[in-house]
């Protein structure tokens, strides 16, 4: 019997022996009866004597309830006088010290006792920033829409899976890279490709990890597009306008939840992860930005009442993301250094990301996100709806400390936040770069990093690493994969990795790897190669379909080619019906067989969702390139 089980038994036995104080039980029951009456009855106003009694009663209640409902937004009122005017109230000086967290998050040698005492205390790992899922891509396929190519990111796909990082030794520092090299045949062409996986390990144990107190501003999109169904494209409204009224009413009756309702629930879920020593504020925006709740300590906020207000938010107006971000940035600027230091500082944007007012350029929002990041105020985007504009967000979340998630369902989002909220707000490693010293080998492609386009022939760059959950020695999203050009069997590569911790201190590690002929024992690199090829195939299909290319980029001669860059569209988008050409249906069939073989070797049943997706695509409506049936350019602007 394990020690843990014994202590559980002691606990059960110990609790069982305790005698309950029945007198206390009765008195608490009586007090509940009193409270029930006072909470649910309207306060009577009448004669002076009566009013005095009421006041005395409420004074006694209020004296025991210090948290305040400081929600200031009223959607019924004219909002002009609320814009920007009520900023600056932050409440509470905050008292979190830096000392203990400095110990945990600086480059450290983990105490021996921590690493060896308990099996349950395995180290957590790291994952890159940027996208944390490909949920928008999956939802579009499931709903019969053709996704944007930007909805499918390598890092988002990787983050949905756990990887063996190939770690050979215990990591005793903040970050440790591990390397596994492998050779693998392309399933379409049969040509051998060489890959190197970079495992993202840390010396932090689950027990050691605790996020700093958090200054958090949630910026909520309340624009008109948020009122459409979670599973519809808002800008398909033009089609609805041509319908008879009865048909439109029937359509809306069948709508399950609006994006606004889903967003409200998501924000209330986020609020559930805040601690008493966190600060929390809310900004809403449509055409303009409105302060809904000043930033105050959670301990001095009536969070239940604020949650009720959030659940009552309804959609209206245009979409001026810049205004929302500007107000949130201003609120952080108004915090004193004392209030910022020793805190995680983060803005969480909850949106469908379809700006149509203010500065809608990528640069306008990007500039503010970058400016905030320089002040260690980082940004997360929570995407809502199948028409979540991934083009815009994918480009912005390449900024230091940024990341994004998509809400699939409220329940799914809640479960993910239970595991990932603390990690999501705690970037720990910055400016990770890996350089090669090799005469012949160069990097052909980087998979699993939003900064892949910043890679050069001998250098890989990752902007930010966030802590990531581990299970059974595997880390969620715990690898970055490099496809190598010019690899020669037996050649040694000298690798140098450098990174900064959150305090700007730089660290350097060196290692070497020998190019081998054949596969690796590590399941991590094999899974990464499988997923990278899968993503490449899907991206080639999406780009070819979007660009109406007549010959698929993936051929028996060239294999699964590295996808070309695609042009970003403007932000408002309409749906395009899912279509798959016969050529790609055949390719998906070949890849399905390859993936099934790999799944049996990797023993990861989660991968079966990709088999389902490939089968869905093979059953989708067919089209030959050049047919009139293929939708053309679908950008509105």
């Amino acid at each position: 019997m394990s020690l843990k089980k014994i202590i559980h038994m002691m606990n059960e036995r110990g609790e069982g022996d305790i005698e309950v104080n029945d007198s206390l039980k009765r008195s608490v029951r009586e007090s509940l009866g009193t409270q029930k009456k006072s909470w649910h009855k309207t306060v009577p106003f009448g004669a002076l004597a009566g009013a005095m009694v009421v006041m005395a009663f409420f004074i006694s209640i209020d004296s025991s309830i210090s948290p305040q409902d400081d929600w200031v937004f009223d959607q019924e009122e004219d909002t002009d006088d609320m814009m920007y005017g009520a900023l600056g109230s932050t409440g509470g000086a905050g008292s979190a010290g830096l000392g203990s967290m400095m110990d945990a998050f600086s480059n450290f040698a983990a105490p021996e006792a921590v690493r060896t005492s308990f099996d349950a205390e395995e180290s957590i790992g790291f994952a890159v920033g940027g996208a944390n899922d490909i949920q928008t891509f999956r939802d579009n396929i499931a709903e019969g829409y053709l996704p944007n190519p930007s909805a499918l990111t390598y890092e988002g796909l990787f983050y949905e899976y756990f990887f063996d990082t190939g770690k050979q030794e215990e990591c005793s520092e903040l970050f440790c890279a591990s390397y596994v090299q492998t050779a693998s045949e392309d399933p379409i062409s049969g040509e051998v490709d060489h890959y190197l996986s970079v495992g993202l390990n840390s010396g932090i144990t689950e027990a050691d990890f605790e996020r700093l107190p958090l200054n958090l501003i949630v910026v909520m999109d309340i624009s008109g597009s948020m009122g459409s169904s979670f599973s519809d494209y808002y800008y398909d409204q033009a089609v609805l306008d041509t319908w008879e009224k009865d048909a439109v009413d029937e359509y809306y009756e069948n709508v399950i939840k609006s994006k606004m309702e889903v967003a409200n629930e998501a924000v209330v879920d986020l609020m559930g992860h805040l601690n008493d020593d966190d600060r929390f504020g809310v900004v809403l925006y449509d055409d303009d930005a409105y302060l809904a709740k000043p930033m105050k300590l959670v301990s001095s906020t009536d969070m239940d009442s604020v949650a009720d207000h959030v659940m009552e938010i309804v959609d209206s107006g245009g979409t001026n993301m810049e205004a929302g971000m500007s107000m949130a940035s201003q609120m952080f600027d108004d915090l004193s250094g004392f209030e910022l230091e020793g805190y995680e500082n983060r803005i969480i944007f909850v949106t469908d990301a379809m700006p149509n007012a203010g500065d809608t350029s990528e640069d306008g929002l990007l500039g503010m996100v970058e400016g905030n990041a320089e002040k260690s105020v980082y940004t997360s985007f929570i995407g809502v709806g199948v028409d979540f504009q991934t083009d815009l967000i994918e480009s912005i979340t390449k900024v230091r400390g940024a990341n994004y998630y998509a809400v699939h369902t409220p329940v799914d989002f809640r479960e993910r936040m239970d595991e990932q909220f603390d990690f999501m707000v705690t970037p720990l490693v910055f400016d990770l770069s890996l350089s090669f010293d090799s005469e012949n080998i160069s990097i052909a492609q980087v998979y699993g990093s939003p900064d892949a386009d910043r890679a050069t022939g001998e250098l890989m760059y990752v902007n930010t690493l966030f802590p990531s959950a581990s299970a059974g020695g595997e880390v969620r999203g715990g690898v970055v994969l490099l496809k190598l050009d010019g690899a020669q069997i037996g050649e040694d590569i000298d690798l140098t990795v450098s990174y900064e911790n959150r305090y700007g201190e730089e660290f350097i590690q060196t290692d070497s790897v020998t190019i081998v002929d054949g596969g690796s024992d590590s399941s991590g690199v094999a899974k990464a190669v499988l997923l990278a090829r899968y993503a490449d195939l899907l991206l080639n299909w999406l780009i070819d379909t979007n660009q109406e290319v007549s010959v698929p980029a993936v051929t028996a001669d060239d294999g699964i080619a590295i996808p070309s860059q695609w042009l970003l569209g403007e932000w408002e988008q309409t749906s395009t019906t899912l279509t798959v050409s016969d050529d790609y249906k055949e390719l998906f069939g070949i890849f399905e067989e390859y993936m099934k073989d790999q799944i049996s070797v990797l023993a990861d049943e989660e991968l079966n969702q990709e088999i389902d997706l490939l089968q869905t695509l093979q059953q989708a409506a067919g089209v030959s390139y050049g047919d009139d049936g293929l939708d053309g350019d679908d950008w509105l602007y």
Partner: protein, 168 residues
């Protein structure tokens, strides 16, 4: 479930829920006066926040246990230090109480008799409530390193003792 239904469910199971909270809290906070304050706060808070109870996520018992756990943690953090780690160890004689095979029940009872109430509370925080060393350290106003050290000592002693019991 509407809020009135939630409130009715709470009231119908009041006795059971109160007992659950009372035993949960009293085992973790050895001082009876402090524990009863926390019990009252927990039950009152749960009733006040009954709107947040979501039957889809679990039963009332699970929900109120979560609130109780948070209240216990908040109590530890806000109270003055009452635990002296140095005075908690070493554990008194934990040699097997009898020769030959020993049932799990008797062994657990024996261990409990020899552990101070504060030690039981700390072990419960760590192994039942799954608090991290850092969280426990914040609760009892000690340095994380001191807590780790105490657990390391306690772990070894309990393990040695249990091995002896099993070997016998």
């Amino acid at each position: 479930m509407k809020i009135d239904q939630k409130r009715a469910a709470f009231e119908a199971h009041y006795d059971e829920l109160f007992d659950l909270v009372y035993k949960f809290v009293a085992y973790r906070i050895p001082n009876r006066v402090d524990a009863e304050d926390v019990v009252a706060n927990t039950v009152e808070k749960a009733y006040r926040k009954i709107r947040q109870f979501d039957p889809a996520r679990g039963e009332l018992r699970q929900w109120i246990s979560g609130i109780a756990r948070n209240e216990v943690t908040a109590h530890w953090r806000s109270s003055r230090p009452v635990v002296s780690l140095d005075q908690l160890g070493p554990i008194e004689d934990l040699s097997p109480p009898m020769d030959g095979r020993i049932s799990d029940e008797i062994m657990v009872e024996h261990l409990m008799e020899n552990l101070p109430a504060e030690a039981k509370a700390l072990l419960t925080m760590r192994y039942v409530d799954d608090l991290t060393y850092r969280e426990i350290a914040r609760c009892i106003h000690k340095r994380p390193a001191a807590v780790r050290k105490w657990f390391s000592r306690m772990h070894k002693r309990l393990q040695i003792q249990l091995n002896k019991v099993y070997e016998s």
